[in-house]
């Protein structure tokens, strides 16, 4: 080799070596500032663990952090995690929780605002759906969590059932009005009765009238199904003195209707949790269901759904009061993520929380049908990718957005979980015909009083006072006369 050629080769080799070194060395230091650190997260289902796995790779590339996720099953989640927290410690850094239990969890969470200042964190707060930002994120006025799952109920229907000319004709003959997706509870109950027990899809199968989840496990499925009716009939959880209002005329009417229409629901409904009725909807066995927003992703998934492209999405029915329909769909209850006050890795955990909450990363989580996580950012609803993710995804996302102004939160006071479970249990007692609706709700009200006494009436009253004002601001107030005049 000539000396000149040798010099050129050596120079090129040296330049290449330096460039390669710079390429590998620079991003590692800058892009993985927490290289080698692992944080522990706790969640309440395998599908939540799976949802975190969707951002794992990007998280590692950006921060160098790994997440070790522990799953505590839904039914034991609140008790086990609170048991740890109430004893003054926690093995977890990142904690998933139900926002309705914020009064019980909040004091164990790290306030975010000081860290936002210190670490220059950006949670894109303006992009969070206002109703979630209002009711899900704060404890005693301090920001302590970010949404992770925007659970609400919307209504789904099988268009085949509603659009077949034969069905429309039969319905009109029987009920004297047109067959349309129900807007009121009366129309819902009529439709459930009409569709039950025959092949409304043109088959000779015995299909069912409507779907529901009535098992009192978790925080109480039957309670979630009852309260949309209850609130649209003018109900409220407590009065200003913490006297339960669940056994008033609104509650009794809601429960009586549920008991009366039990025969139009699939066998086994008393032990159905969230997924059973969704499966029946996507398999074309029930024509109507109001359920979590994640249902829509299953509806649109052609691998399992026979109604992809043939489903309608809309507001949960309401009650006609003085010629106007009052809709009161439920926040049911969603999931939040927070940093444990007892964590020894607060800084890195906060960076992780910021990362998984970014619009791009959280979109990946809420778009995936296997996560059962639902949109909670405005940008999720407007995302062009999400809006084309499956047939009619745009209509599905529009229905979610249209529901937001009417949402009713859980009774977000200390022991919310216990209040809900006691009520859900009594609702199921009535649905199983072991008690009359009024008797069941009276018992539930007595149980609620016991919980209030145990927790301290004054403390509960103060907490409820704040929520009452919050609900009033959302337009939700007690109307004792609505139950009688609702159509």
């Amino acid at each position: 080799m000539r000396p000149a050629a040798l010099k050129v080769s050596l120079t090129l080799a040296l330049a290449g070596f330096l460039a390669a070194g710079a390429f590998y060395a620079r991003p590692v230091g800058a892009a993985r500032p927490y290289e080698g650190q692992t944080i522990r997260a706790v969640v309440n289902a395998e599908y939540v663990k799976y949802s975190l796995s969707l951002v794992e790779k990007d998280l590692y590339d950006k921060l160098g952090v790994k997440i070790e996720t522990e799953v505590i099953p839904l039914d034991a989640f609140v008790s086990k995690t609170l048991l740890e927290f109430n004893s003054g410690s926690s093995p977890w850094d990142l904690v998933m929780f139900g926002p309705s239990n914020m009064p019980d969890y909040g004091r164990h969470f790290e306030p975010l605002e000081p860290w936002i200042e210190k670490l220059k964190l950006d949670f894109a707060m303006d992009d969070i759906v206002p109703v979630f930002a209002k009711v899900m994120l704060r404890y005693q006025g301090k920001l302590v969590s970010m949404p992770y799952d925007g659970d609400i109920h919307i209504m789904y229907w099988n268009k085949v059932a509603f659009e077949r000319a034969d069905n429309q004709k039969k319905f009109k003959a029987k009920y004297h009005y047109d067959l349309k997706p129900p807007k009121t509870w009366k129309q819902w109950d009529d439709a459930a009765e009409f569709f039950h027990g025959w092949g409304w899809d043109g088959s000779d199968k015995k299909l069912f009238g409507a779907g529901a989840s009535y098992k009192p496990s978790g925080s109480g499925y039957s309670y979630h199904w009852w309260r949309s009716r209850f609130f649209s009939y003018g109900g409220q959880y407590f009065d200003k003195d913490m006297k339960p209002l669940i056994n008033t005329a609104a509650g009794v009417r809601a429960l009586e209707e549920m008991v009366k229409t039990m025969p139009y629901y699939p066998p086994g409904v008393l032990l159905f949790e969230s997924e059973e009725p969704k499966t029946m909807l996507v398999k074309g066995e029930v024509p109507l269901l109001y359920s979590w927003t994640s249902t829509g992703k299953r509806v649109g998934n052609k691998d399992e759904s026979v109604i992809a492209g043939k489903a309608g999405f809309g507001l949960v029915p309401g009650a006609e009061i003085d010629g106007k329909i009052v809709n009161r769909p439920a926040i049911t209850p969603g999931r939040g993520m927070a940093v444990s006050k007892y964590s020894k890795k607060k800084e890195v955990t906060l960076k992780v929380l910021e990362f998984i909450s970014t619009p791009d990363q959280s979109l990946k989580i809420v778009m995936d049908p296997k996560t059962i996580m639902d949109p909670w950012r405005v940008s999720h609803l407007r995302s062009p990718i999400f809006r084309k993710a499956f047939p009619d995804a745009d209509k599905y996302l529009d229905a979610i957005e249209a529901t937001f102004p009417y949402l009713v939160p859980d009774p977000v006071v200390p022991a919310a979980d216990e209040y809900q479970r006691k009520l859900s249990f009594e609702i199921t007692e009535a649905l199983a015909k072991r008690k009359a609706p009024k008797e069941a709700l009276d018992t539930a009200a007595a149980e609620w009083d016991k919980v209030t006494e145990r927790r301290g009436r004054d403390k509960q009253k103060a907490a409820w006072g704040e929520k009452l004002a919050e609900m009033k601001a959302l337009g939700i107030e007690y109307h004792p006369d609505w139950a009688a005049k609702a159509k």
Partner: protein, 301 residues
């Protein structure tokens, strides 16, 4: 002079020294929790409220028996499940044990095969049966549909009676092998000479069963029944997985209600009191059972 005394003392303390590791372990893991939970049952310790607790005397006990309709209801439910379950397990276990005692070849293999359900953990058994009873994808309903016996899915837990019957069925499936093994051991310990003598006297098999097998099996049956009775008062895993106490509260057992009080409502003291009410109830039942047994023996003598 001192040596024999030392030896005597050593004879006194040596057994305790050898047993001390076990005694310490028993004290730590059994006696202390028992004593502490008993103490706890007289407080108002509520983990959801905070770590502070006050002495409230027997209020938890009076509440559980006099004012807690759900707990009293769970006592009734437990009794409704225990009665038929014990009877069915005894009759089926005895039948299988008698059949097995007559099998000359391959008895160990057949016994082992029949005992398989008892080797499955209660939660696994409940999960398997939950899948079998499943409304939509359950094996039983699908078999029924294919055979044309039913034309729409059947809800095996749709009413109180059905749900309780289903729980009893699963418990009988799971625990009959235990009863079978206990009774088989009892049957095999009966001297064959008694049967030979009875045969020589012209007794029929039914007379032999009635006059030899059954009287001599009474003690074994009593032990088997008592063990199962104590087991059934703790019935939890099966209920949790299979029915979650439903529909309504129709299959809520005392153990399930205690779990709800302690680990869902965090009323630790109240749950401790419920546990002691259950222990007291089982103790009473056992004593009653033993008393009846002794009374019968005395009458027979």
């Amino acid at each position: 002079m001192r040596l024999p005394m030392l030896a005597l003392k050593r004879r006194q303390w040596e057994p305790f020294a050898f047993a001390s590791p076990s005694l310490v372990l028993i004290a730590l893991v059994i006696m202390f929790p028992l004593a502490y939970s008993f103490y706890l049952s007289f407080l108002d310790f509520d983990l959801s409220v905070g770590p502070d607790a006050n002495f409230i005397g027997a209020r938890n006990y009076t509440e559980s028996i006099l004012r807690d309709g759900r707990f009293v209801g769970s006592i009734v439910n437990t009794a409704i499940i225990i009665g038929p379950a014990l009877a069915a397990e005894l009759v089926l276990g005895l039948g299988l044990a008698l059949l097995l005692s007559r099998v000359a070849r391959g008895r160990p293999i057949i016994t082992a095969l029949l005992a398989i359900p008892a080797m499955v953990s209660p939660v696994m058994a409940a999960m398997a049966w939950r899948m079998m009873f499943g409304v939509k994808y359950g094996a039983i309903n699908n078999l029924g549909l294919q055979l044309g016996i039913i034309d729409v899915y059947f809800d095996w837990f749709g009413s109180s009676a059905l749900a309780r019957a289903s729980v009893v069925l699963v418990d009988v499936w799971h625990n009959t092998p235990f009863m079978m093994l206990v009774l088989l051991a009892g049957i095999q310990s009966i001297p064959t000479e008694l049967y030979d003598a009875a045969r020589a006297d012209g007794a029929t098999p039914w007379q032999s069963f009635w006059s030899i097998t059954l009287p001599l099996l009474k003690f074994t049956m009593a032990v088997g029944l008592m063990i199962r009775l104590i087991d059934l008062t703790k019935l939890f895993g099966l209920i949790f997985v299979l029915t979650y106490g439903g529909p309504g509260s129709s299959t809520e057992t005392v153990a399930f209600t205690t779990y709800l009080a302690g680990f869902k409502d965090f009323r630790m003291s109240y749950a401790a009191a419920l546990s002691y009410v259950i222990v007291g109830g089982v103790l009473l039942l056992t004593l009653l059972f033993l008393w009846i047994q002794r009374l019968r023996e005395a009458r027979a003598a």
